[in-house]
């Protein structure tokens, strides 16, 4: 009786019928065949799950709070390393706000309860892995190791979304919600600057900011980017080319 080996196991996994003699051999128990099965990872997940579910679900008293875990486990493009925020904040403010302060935005600041969509301008700076900070002109080439910081200049405060579109025709990916302040500002999230990682990206991409007179839905923001038709939402896009 020949034992199960890697090649035979692969054939079985791919749907080949088992020789009845082999089945009987397996049923009787064989350490050599068990070792061949153990060497292949197929079914490991299902088996572990079934075994771990036998006991009541354990508590996890030592778990770190979510606000700490999220910094590690949530996909990279939504994070900037905490240690970089201080340097990002200082450099970004210096680099991005000074030119804008010389040319104040138009619009009607101070109008409460304005329901008209804002006018919106979007600019981008890139922080390179060596810590340098540079304004990025539209259409520029950036590295996938760079982190982008967004600067807007809006006529009045609004809420909306940041999206990333790969190529010209693909459905944009919604990255996160944001609040755009009135006037020139570097975009922030709750814990600091909003930094977009380009890790894993390559080729033509467009960063979009979409806002409205009232906060748009995620779906409306996607539709506003995808459609060439006039939209009640305001969209500002910034085209880049990413090298791996």
């Amino acid at each position: 009786m020949s034992h199960l080996d890697a090649a035979g196991l692969r054939q079985l996994l791919e749907g080949a019928d088992a020789d009845p003699a082999l089945l009987a051999h397996l049923e009787a128990g064989c350490e050599t065949c068990d070792a061949a099965l153990a060497a292949v990872s197929a079914l490991d997940g299902e088996i572990d799950l079934a075994l771990l579910r036998l006991a009541p679900r354990p508590l996890d008293a030592a778990a770190p709070p979510w606000r700490r875990a999220r910094e590690v486990v949530v996909p990279l493009r939504r994070r900037v390393p905490v240690a970089a925020w201080g340097a990002l904040a200082a450099a970004a403010l210096l680099l991005l706000l000074v030119p804008l302060l010389r040319a104040p935005a138009g619009g009607e600041p101070g109008v409460k309860g304005a329901r008209r969509p804002p006018t919106l301008r979007l600019e981008i700076a890139a922080r390179t892995p060596d810590g340098a900070f540079a304004s990025v002109p539209p259409g520029a080439t950036v590295s996938a190791r760079d982190v982008l910081v967004l600067r807007t200049d809006a006529s009045h405060a609004a809420e909306g979304w940041v999206l990333l579109q790969r190529g010209a025709s693909r459905t944009p990916e919604v990255l996160e919600a944001l609040a755009v302040p009135a006037g020139p500002a570097v975009l922030e999230r709750q814990h600091g600057l909003l930094g977009l990682s380009l890790d894993g990206e390559a080729g033509a991409v467009t960063v979009w900011v979409v806002v409205g007179a009232t906060p748009p839905s995620r779906e409306a923001a996607v539709a506003a980017v995808e459609s060439a038709d006039p939209s009640p939402l305001v969209r500002a896009g910034f085209h880049l080319h990413v090298t791996p």
């Binding site: 397996l26 068990d34 153990a38 997940g45 006991a55 979510w66 990255l175």
Partner: protein, 190 residues
């Protein structure tokens, strides 16, 4: 759609609340799985937990069946633990080839072998074990589910790696039983 599938779908859309729900729901499962490796200490386990979820969340767009998230997560955790431990199984070329491969959803339990592993089947297998150290270890770790491999080793007065080996030997039995049942069912299907 189950609560789990809804959370997976939400995370695939990038919703942070969904990531959090998956993390808080499934983290205890991953920690418990890793507690079966006596050679891993608390810091090792925590690193592997974070690594597991990072990989799973990054790979979510490729998961076509949200209902398989937990089994996929377990496979990633096991893969990462084995990579950390640098362990290679005896018959070994296949494991050596696969040890560093990413656990893509589509490479798990190929369609030819997809099957729900019933708790009753597993309990039957445990009950059918001969009385002795392996059965005692399996009952302590999987059925009672409170002690880690290290704690069981201390209680039974054996080495940590002995406990892990007993658990792995039992897992191999379960895998064999599962494969046999599926192959028999396939053979009897007209």
């Amino acid at each position: 759609m189950s609560e789990l599938a809804r959370a997976v779908a939400g995370a695939q859309r990038g919703e942070e609340a969904a990531f959090r729900a998956l993390y808080e729901r499934c983290r205890p499962l991953v920690v418990r799985l890793l507690q079966g490796f006596g050679a891993l200490d608390g810091d090792d386990r925590e690193d592997i937990v974070q690594d597991t979820f990072t990989r799973a969340f990054r790979g979510l767009p490729q998961l076509s069946d949200p209902a398989r998230f937990e089994s996929w997560l377990c496979a990633i955790a096991r893969n990462r633990a084995l990579t950390v431990l640098g362990r290679r199984q005896a018959t070994s070329r296949t494991r050596a080839e696969l040890a560093e491969e990413p656990v893509e959803p589509e490479t798990l339990a190929p369609r030819a072998l997809q099957v729900e592993l019933d708790a009753a089947v597993v309990r039957e297998l445990i009950a059918g074990l001969p009385e002795g150290p392996e059965k005692q270890t399996v009952q302590l770790f999987y059925v009672e589910g409170e002690l880690s491999a290290r704690e069981i080793a201390e209680r039974l007065g054996v080495g940590k790696s002995t406990i892990t080996m007993r658990l792995e030997r039992f897992r191999a039995r379960v895998k064999r039983e599962l494969v046999v049942r599926v192959l028999r069912a396939r053979g009897s299907t007209p």
